[in-house]
Amino acid sequence: MIIDCKHVWNYLSEYIDGSLSEETREAVQLHLDHCEICSAILDATRNIIILTADDRVFELPVGYSERLHARLEKELNDKLS
């Protein structure tokens, strides 16, 4: 199976997740081995996914946990009374 760049783009996300069928994965792999543009797109996409998953990108507001538990404490006590 020979596939062109545009087809490869459609498979990139599943290629990253390792959820493509064996046949499709091989076809994508074959293309990536010879296409520097598609390999660069794949590398950039993977890189961006790793960066956005980092805890520093979405930080919790300072004091969030304390305020949450304080509010819950009130609720839990109300429940008791």
Partner: protein, 210 residues
């Protein structure tokens, strides 16, 4: 990370929930501790303000506590909790939209193909780059700018690291939809971010023979 829960966690959670329902309400603090971040992030993916996201998160945890008796043990507590958060966030958006008489953000899938930014090479941006506020802001803004249906899938899969089935169950959509939306989100982010991150990354040494 939600997806890393072992069966022992789930058994402990079931026991904790039972104990809370039996009157040991203080245990609720412990029960929710692993999900504080996930719930906040889910809320933040719907609203732009941190204060509002925090408010939604608090409300979701309280609603979950009040309806804990309706939680069914065959479901995962994390999935159930995130669903409550989603409902809370969506409900607020609907109320706001009707107050301002604004149309809600389009919630249907789009079949137009998405294309990535074309690059000839990519030099890896290491995690150390996240020490720079500028880089963190670029990433956060790009995720926030995604259409809602792609953003919620992306946040659950790639930020919260839930698996495909958990994401589908949480959002009550099919596994196929999760895959399509995630694909679109990732390609949109690549398109948006690759050129600017490349520019923001430290300068590559110029090769003298060029």
């Amino acid at each position: 990370m939600l997806s890393m829960e072992g069966t022992s966690t789930i058994r402990n959670e079931a026991q904790m929930i039972e104990a809370i329902l039996a009157g040991d309400t203080q245990l609720y603090h412990e029960l929710i501790r692993p999900y504080e971040r996930a719930v906040y992030l889910m809320a933040l993916s719907y609203v732009k303000s941190e204060t509002e996201a925090e408010d939604i998160a608090q409300e979701a945890f309280i609603k979950a506590f009040r309806s804990l008796a309706t939680f069914r043990a065959e479901a995962k507590f994390s999935t159930w909790l995130i669903s409550i958060t989603l409902n809370e966030a969506r409900g607020r958006l609907r109320r706001k939209a009707s107050l301002r008489e604004e149309p809600l953000e389009e919630l249907t899938d789009d079949d137009r193909p998405v294309s990535p930014a074309l690059l000839r090479d990519w030099r890896e941006i290491p995690s150390e780059a996240l020490e720079r506020m500028e880089v963190r802001t670029l990433l956060r803004k790009a995720v926030e700018a995604l259409p809602a249906i792609y953003r919620e899938v992306f946040v659950l899969r790639d930020v919260e690291e839930l698996n495909v089935n958990e994401t589908a169950a949480t959002l009550k959509i099919s596994v196929a939809s999760v895959k399509v939306r995630l694909h679109r989100a990732r390609i949109m982010l690549q398109k948006q971010l690759a050129p600017v991150l490349k520019a923001a990354a430290p300068e590559r040494k110029r090769r003298w023979f060029r």
